[in-house]
Symmetry: C2
Subunit: 444 residues, 2 copies
């Protein structure tokens, strides 16, 4: 009889554990008990050691750690396609900000985040690092779908429907963090929006909180050349120097975009152990530029990958993002061997987990870690032949090949569909409301 | 009763005809009779005018002209993933050329091309422009699956299992062209491999044939900086100047890659009415560079998009290629509004058809043209909401949303699967042989 304590033995053709060794195992099994990975062992050993386990054979499948989307604004999926093909300033000022000002309340965030969480889960994302208003609504969507979320304690220098001052933004976010303590799926980052929307005093307060509470700091930096010019004229220094002055360039820092960096700034990020969340589709689509990924990797900076929100991408498709990321790094640097597939997989998993302070819990397939896993079906004819399952994953496979997903030991995607009937029902209810949101965007 | 002559009335939510107007129609229907588009009309008008037609309602679907892959080496799908993450020279010299020398016979081409044709059809590609040895085997694969192919009359300056001299290459290709005369799915291009593999005399012969037979000339040009340097030292001119000297820079020219072009060269291509086949994933993966697409478009050069072969991409996924193409053009030029979605769709269809000399037959949804059509299911929750079906197609949709495909009036993909049981059986036979090919690649 199968109970909650019965171990589940997963037997795919290939396993990419990422750590301690970043390679591919065959004839091995992963044993899940409850929410955790209990063992990773040769199949025959696993069968001997766990005789009462249920076994799921996955021929032709590759299991990796769950993918981590290191930067998104999940709720913006309801604004997907608003203002495409516009320059950044017109896109923000004519389309996105007015729509957000009219619509972005807790109900908008709840529906948008649920759609986003569904899209991400079915694409193999098991954790997303979010920055948006009303994070309590995003938390609720994540719980409903069973996806892990690192929620941003957002602070921005102007009032919104969510909060009216830096103090209120921080207080609300910290209260949510307290209320969610002990929730296995939720963690938190401090999320000052950007150097150009947050004042020095608030940046210093964020630095103190990051230090005292041991929280990552999730912030947009150096996305466009224009914001650097404005910082120089307004503050006399480039934005990263302002963050450094405030005490924010530390191992807690997750700098999003980081498109425009000089060598000293790359050296600073590396020496302080800061991480970068690279969002190539968004940077290209908004014509922000091409991040200096080869130089960041050469310097030893931890690089994760993010989709950004649906309004600037427009797919929350982390595997496609990763493929573009490494291709673009090769093309822009002239080095075809930079960021090879195994390193890209580590960026998508363990490196992103480290940036989020979660690498003791997730990011690799090691005994004792939480069971966040993705099974990719590499048996499809368009993925044949498989000379190397890792390069096949990064260069050939797509989210359409994600077959099974586990988060915290729960089998949340089964044969490409949501595993929970409750989650599926909630999704249908949200989908039914989309035309209402769409009308409100268009008619406003 | 439905017969071959019964008109088929397609009634999707949206139709993007590309020409004469490049917009989106709603409440319209496409009427197919036999292999042709008989009408495009308001739904009520179509129903009145074709009372005996069978009707296929496609709610939530967008129908576009079939996509045209303007550059591939279909047979190379059997080498997908060989030599990933290697620099171009090592990739070619250590991996690809040795494997081709050992394996590339007619049976290899037949199986590889069939796998490629299946991948392309299911991704919405209805025509592919191919360059490879043993084009008769590629022709056979295209016929089996019912996909349209522009076959390359390849010529390359060294002997292979296919032919041993320029004369033999050309003779074999031209004989195949004669043998295929009247086949509705097949057309031909002259396909001298590249300036660095074809001598001046052969280039001049190709120019004469192109002129006399009114055939496009499909050739790699200016893919890498190195080939330009070598041309300067060996011939005293850049490769495009050599082509021009041979009389090849004309409206017949389809220059593949065109990564490294100066302003004069862009002006030359524009003034002569030549076309470029842009292959961004291949250019990035092999670190060849980033083609100057914004400048080419500004100059009025016809730009189509190609996947290149599976060994350098590794997906024959033209929609993903198009998305990267426009995103990269925006990011590299700093102009977020360049190559908007409607223009990208025209590049994928009518512009590519024009480059192939097929724009009187395909490339738009107009009465009298052949019925090459794709229906994309935009109803998926990850594509909601749909503010603009064209931007949703280019920026959000993927090949996983291709639901139905018609080529030459045949319904070749039905509900995401091959429509022909014979084609499906042949595909299964080829898939069963993949491990044999894989062993021959690895063990050699």
């Amino acid at each position: 009889m199968t109970t909650a304590d019965t171990p589940l033995l997963l037997a795919p053709t290939w396993i990419a554990p990422v750590a301690p060794a970043n390679g591919v195992l065959t004839d091995h099994a992963i044993v899940i008990r409850g929410s955790r990975i209990e063992a990773l062992a040769p199949l025959s050993v696993a069968r001997n050691n766990y005789p009462g386990s249920s076994e799921l054979a996955l021929p032709g499948h590759l299991i990796t750690p769950g993918l981590i989307n290191l930067h998104t604004h999940a709720a913006m999926s309801l604004l997907r396609g608003v203002g495409d093909d516009l320059p950044l300033t017109r896109w923000l000022e004519e389309k996105i900000w007015p729509a957000e000002a009219r619509l972005a309340g807790a109900d908008f965030v709840a529906d948008g985040a649920l759609l986003a969480a569904h899209e991400m889960l079915r694409g193999g994302v098991t954790t997303f690092n979010d920055m948006y208003f009303f994070p309590e609504a995003t938390a609720s969507a994540a719980r409903t779908l069973g996806i892990r979320a690192a929620l941003g304690i957002i602070v921005i220098g102007f009032p919104t429907a969510y909060a009216s001052s830096a103090g209120e933004y921080l207080r609300k976010g910290l209260e949510l963090r307290d209320a969610c303590a002990g929730d296995p799926l939720l963690s938190f980052c401090l999320a000052p929006h950007a150097p150009y929307t947050v004042d020095d005093d608030t940046l210093r307060r964020v630095a103190v909180l990051a230090d005292e509470l041991d929280l990552p700091v999730h912030i947009h930096i150096h996305e466009t050349a224009g914001e650097i010019d404005r910082s120089l004229s307004q503050h006399g220094v480039r934005p990263l120097a302002r963050l450094d002055r405030a005490g924010l360039v530390t191992p807690h820092l997750i700098g999003v975009h980081a498109v425009h960096l000089d060598d000293d700034e790359i050296g600073l990020l590396a020496s302080r152990g800061a991480a970068v969340a690279h969002c190539p589709h968004s940077n290209l689509k908004l014509a922000s530029g091409i991040a200096p990924i080869a130089r960041l990797l050469d310097a030893g900076v931890t690089v994760g990958i993010g989709t950004d929100g649906s309004a600037s991408n427009n797919r929350l498709d982390l595997l496609a993002e990763a493929r573009t990321a490494t291709l673009l790094a090769k093309g822009a640097s002239g080095r075809a061997d930079i960021w090879p597939a195994a390193a890209v997989l580590r960026s998508l998993t363990l490196d992103a987990a480290r940036a989020l302070g979660l690498d003791r819990c997730i990011g690799s397939i090691e005994p004792g870690k939480q069971a966040d896993l993705v099974a990719f079906d590499l048996d499809a004819s368009e993925l044949q032949p498989v000379f190397d399952p890792l390069t096949q994953l990064i260069y050939s496979a797509g989210r359409e090949h994600v077959a099974e997903v586990w988060v915290d030991g729960q089998h949340v995607v089964k044969m490409r569909q949501l595993g929970s009937t409750d989650a599926a029902r909630t999704l249908r209810e949200v989908v039914a409301r989309i035309p209402v949101w769409q009308n409100r965007v268009v008619s406003a």
